[in-house]
């Protein structure tokens, strides 16, 4: 399923905050058609890494390449328009707008030439169609008219993914999409991720180990800002370093 050339390649990405090295020489290859999970204890640097991939945080050192193109110095906006979309750990939506308008506005980002800015927003067929498709992919097409602030937490998380899809990304950075979800909602989200896999590359930061090992094609384990292991889920499960550093207490609980 995976191709040999990685879609997104991080080479020794490093981020320092004063004396603290939050992300320490992290190298990652993200392939098309794969869900690449990043796991690690709290404070391992997962969210910092996602923010560096999305462009919200600049790298102190290292390089990031998208399809071989050096994008290390690119702003978040430029990366987003090049196809790197993201969701946030804390739900980041427009609560006062309908689900449809949430997605339509995200889709509008595709056409921002100044002379088009005066066109009526709701008259744009492209952004309306894209929004409808994104809602449908995320399983929200029947709820498009509802206010985003008024739907359930699980649906807001789905909306967050739908808004991301509305920008038509090839790389999806998902920061804890399952946070705070019930069993049924988790199930729905996981099948959504499975459906989205073809044609896209996904980075999944998640705490729910069971979920990670169910959907991930590759797993990277971070401890104290460093990658201690990366590989297929079954290899990670049997990796001694991972066991002692991270999964140890988990296994004991099983």
């Amino acid at each position: 399923m995976s191709t040999d050339i990685p879609l997104l390649r991080a080479a020794a990405l490093t981020r320092r905050f004063g004396g603290l090295t939050a992300v320490d020489k992290v190298s990652l290859d993200i392939h098309l058609g794969e869900i690449h999970a990043i796991i690690g204890t709290n404070g391992a640097g997962k969210s910092t890494l996602v923010n560096m991939l999305s462009g919200e945080l600049a790298a102190s050192e290292g390089a990031l390449r998208l399809r071989g193109l050096d994008i290390t110095g690119w702003s978040q906006v430029r990366r987003a328009r090049a196809g790197i979309g993201r969701s946030y750990q804390r739900t980041t939506i427009f609560p006062g707008f309908s689900l449809f308008e949430n997605c339509r506005l995200a889709a509008q980002a595709a056409a921002q030439r100044p002379w088009r800015l005066w066109e009526p927003a709701t008259g744009c067929r492209h952004s309306a169609d894209t929004a409808r498709r994104a809602l449908e992919e995320a399983g929200l097409h029947e709820r498009g008219h509802l206010l985003a602030g008024a739907v359930s937490h699980g649906q807001q998380r789905q909306l967050e993914i739908a808004m991301c899809l509305a920008t038509d990304p090839t790389v999806l950075l998902l920061d804890e999409p399952l946070a705070g979800m019930g069993a049924e909602e988790t199930e729905r989200m996981l099948s959504l991720l499975e459906r989205l896999r073809p044609g896209r590359a996904m980075v999944l930061v998640e705490h729910d180990m069971e979920a990670v090992f169910r959907v991930a094609d590759r797993v990277t384990v971070m401890v104290n800002g460093q990658v201690i292991a990366t590989g297929h889920p079954e290899d990670i499960r049997s990796n001694a370093a991972v066991k002692s550093a991270y999964l140890g207490d988990h296994d004991a609980a099983h």
């Binding site: 979309g85 939506i93 707008f97 980002a109 056409a111 005066w118 066109e119 927003a121 808004m163």
Partner: protein, 342 residues
């Protein structure tokens, strides 16, 4: 209308109150017909309301639509007025076709500079930085002599518009001033109504709701905010031009932060994010101020109009959290709640 349980509710289209959507047009018609009935004093008062409405609408674009609370908006109003006065000649009336765009461009140019710097900050810092830049402009006009210092300056001739020798508009005539201001308000209102419906307006609303998400979707939010800031300043410059033409004089107080603060009160009173709210709030604020400072109505208390106006504002905001424009929905909500209780 009888309310019995077996009759179906009327379809939404009929149930909805049709008047509000026609309200701005009705108001414009009344505005255009008003000079027939107005005394010179009232005509001047209405003109003041009209000019401040343009000014308030421009701040509403920043605060209500884009979510940028500026406490220095009067600077652009004052610059528009000063550009008009400084570019007018002493030998004959200056052309509206030159002075009006010049006033708007002057305000816009300063806004490009102020916005480029201040939009790097957020929230309370943005408020303070816009205030600082406005005070800077205020003191430049107040403490230097090129524009008359603290006394300000007069326009020897009010602007006029002539095409091949035929004077079409002469702002020395009160009626011409009145209609130019009314036309400017109509045009500003129509422009901002179109903006709110446009892709630009929706993007600004998105930035107000959640800037982080807008950036993640690929919007250069800084550029959007700067464009809104400059556009709002240009409209404030238009109001400044009208003010200078109305009074035939300018002074530094046009740029003072009192003016910016009063303007914020007008749009909050009217209801943030609503165009008709901005106009309504301006009307009520100016009429209140006029009434509260009138000795004929309030006697000795008229000298303390700041106090009474302040208390009235507090009462208004406490009773109408959504502003005057939101009263309609506020009442509907209350009625619905009452129905639930019974």
């Amino acid at each position: 209308m009888t309310r019995t349980s077996h009759t179906l509710p009327p379809p939404p289209a009929l149930r909805a109150w049709a008047l509000p959507s026609a309200l701005p047009l009705l108001a414009l018609a009344a505005l255009l017909a008003a000079p027939l009935a107005l005394t010179p004093y009232l005509s001047d008062l209405v003109q003041k309301i009209v000019i401040f409405s343009v000014f308030a609408l421009s701040l509403g674009l920043l605060v209500g639509t884009a979510g940028l609370v500026s406490l220095g908006h009067a600077a652009f109003f004052g610059i528009g007025a000063y550009v008009t006065a400084l570019a007018s000649s002493d030998t004959g009336p200056g052309s509206i076709a030159v002075l009006l765009p010049l006033a708007m461009l002057g305000a816009g140019a300063y806004a490009l500079f102020v916005g480029a710097l201040s939009l790097r900050t957020k929230g309370v810092y943005f408020i303070m930085v816009t205030l600082a830049f406005a005070q800077m402009a205020y003191f430049i006009f107040h403490d230097t002599h090129f524009a008359g210092g603290s006394d300000g300056m007069f326009l020897a001739y009010r602007p006029a518009l002539a095409i091949s020798g035929v004077t079409l508009v002469d702002l020395e005539l009160p009626l011409h001033r009145y209609y130019l201001a009314a036309g400017a308000l109509g045009a500003t209102y129509a422009l901002l109504a179109a903006l709110q419906r446009s892709r630009f307006g929706h993007a600004l609303a998105g930035i107000r709701a959640n800037e982080q998400r807008m950036r993640a979707a690929g919007f250069n939010t800084y550029a959007y905010k700067l464009a809104a800031f400059v556009l709002a300043a240009m409209l404030a410059g238009l109001a400044g031009f009208l003010m200078a033409s109305k009074d035939g004089a300018v002074n530094p107080e046009l740029l003072s932060w009192h003016e910016s603060g009063a303007l914020l009160m007008m749009i909050i009173l009217g209801g943030l994010g609503s165009l008709r709210g901005a106009v309504l709030g301006t009307c009520v604020f100016i009429l209140l101020k006029e009434a509260l400072s009138s000795e004929a109505i309030f006697g000795a208390l008229a000298g303390r109009w700041q106090l009474t106006l302040g208390l009235t504002m507090i009462a208004f905001v406490a009773l109408m959290p959504k502003g005057l424009a939101g009263l309609h929905t506020q009442w509907q909500q209350r009625r619905k709640e009452n129905q639930h209780e019974h």
